[in-house]
Symmetry: C2
Subunit: 194 residues, 2 copies
């Protein structure tokens, strides 16, 4: 599905492939510990490869993030598709929003990268973010058709809203993020759109 980026090609030299995998594993560890703005040098060190090897495989930090998150982001998009079968359009949207928020807080600083990438077409994360946004759009449209979400809300609004509350939760406490999510979802209700 993802047409982006250098996937771990079958036609990779054995040592190259091994380094690729090691770099991804190291990145997962280091990002988990220090957030997505962690030192790339540290990642290369922990992977046991030279500095330049990292750049050979991942020309930018976002390329590395894309490879690391690809599966998870595809899964989130797939979840949106699946939730179109949920009996309650509104509940489906809320469930998905929570899942999206959880994904977004996988690593510290990730939410900022995901938010930037939605409007930056040159980002390696752009395509995956677009797919997520479109997934959310379908759930949003369905809820609007059911009359539980105001008509003037757009997919971009939904995407920005989820990321904004996730960011707030990251900066303060997860509980605070949860509270804002509740308020925001309530704010999508048609009763107050004027």
């Amino acid at each position: 599905m993802s047409t982006t980026g250098p996937a771990p090609q079958r036609r990779m030299r054995a040592d190259a492939r091994r380094n690729y995998e090691r770099l991804l594993a190291a990145a997962a560890t280091v990002f988990a510990e220090h957030g997505v703005d962690a030192s790339l040098e540290d990642i290369a060190r922990r992977a046991g490869v030279a500095n330049g090897t990292l750049y050979g495989h991942f020309p930018t930090r976002q390329a590395l993030l894309e490879a690391l998150l690809r599966d998870r982001m595809d899964a989130l998009t797939a979840t949106a598709r699946d939730l179109l079968d949920h009996p309650s359009p509104h509940e489906a949207l809320v469930i998905w929003a929570r899942a999206a928020m959880a994904h977004t807080t996988t690593y510290r600083g990730l939410v900022t990268a995901l938010m930037r990438s939605i409007e930056d077409e040159s980002s390696e994360l752009h395509a995956a973010c677009r797919a997520v946004l479109v997934g959310g759009e379908q759930l949003l449209t369905r809820a609007q058709a059911a009359g539980t979400v105001r008509e003037d809300a757009t997919a971009a609004d939904l995407y920005a809203m989820i990321n904004a509350v996730a960011w707030a939760g990251e900066q303060t406490t997860p509980a605070q993020g949860e509270r804002l999510l509740t308020f925001s979802i309530d704010g999508l209700h048609p009763s107050r759109s004027r």
Copy 2:
């Protein structure tokens, strides 16, 4: 009012005072251009002083920010007080929220610093942020008493909400931030609290 930090003391040596002012002016320029994570070295350079002089006056980046923003943050707090006389408690809250959002987007990256500082008591910005939060709290309580805002919303919610939408606007477009602010304020309405 602000008991924090090394204000530009009267009892400062003339050259020290001059350097202090130059550093603040340079910081304003550099932050405006590159955001609040800009190079401190650049600021010192532009102020025409040595690296260590900056640290002498402002031991941390947040100390520099605090000195630079003190007046504006005091003004925002004062505005909250003034708006307690506004005939419409709800409109007063909305007006203030917009003013707070505008302040928060003065420099790129500022919103993150302000959000972090509210829970970090060691931050030089903490006291000013607390004062702003308390200012907002009064407007919030008044709106709640008037029945236009849900009872379960707290001052921390309001603070986080304003910063979250400001952040979203910074990452995408100001118009997107405006849209989220509208939705968020609507989400504060009692009609949907359950």
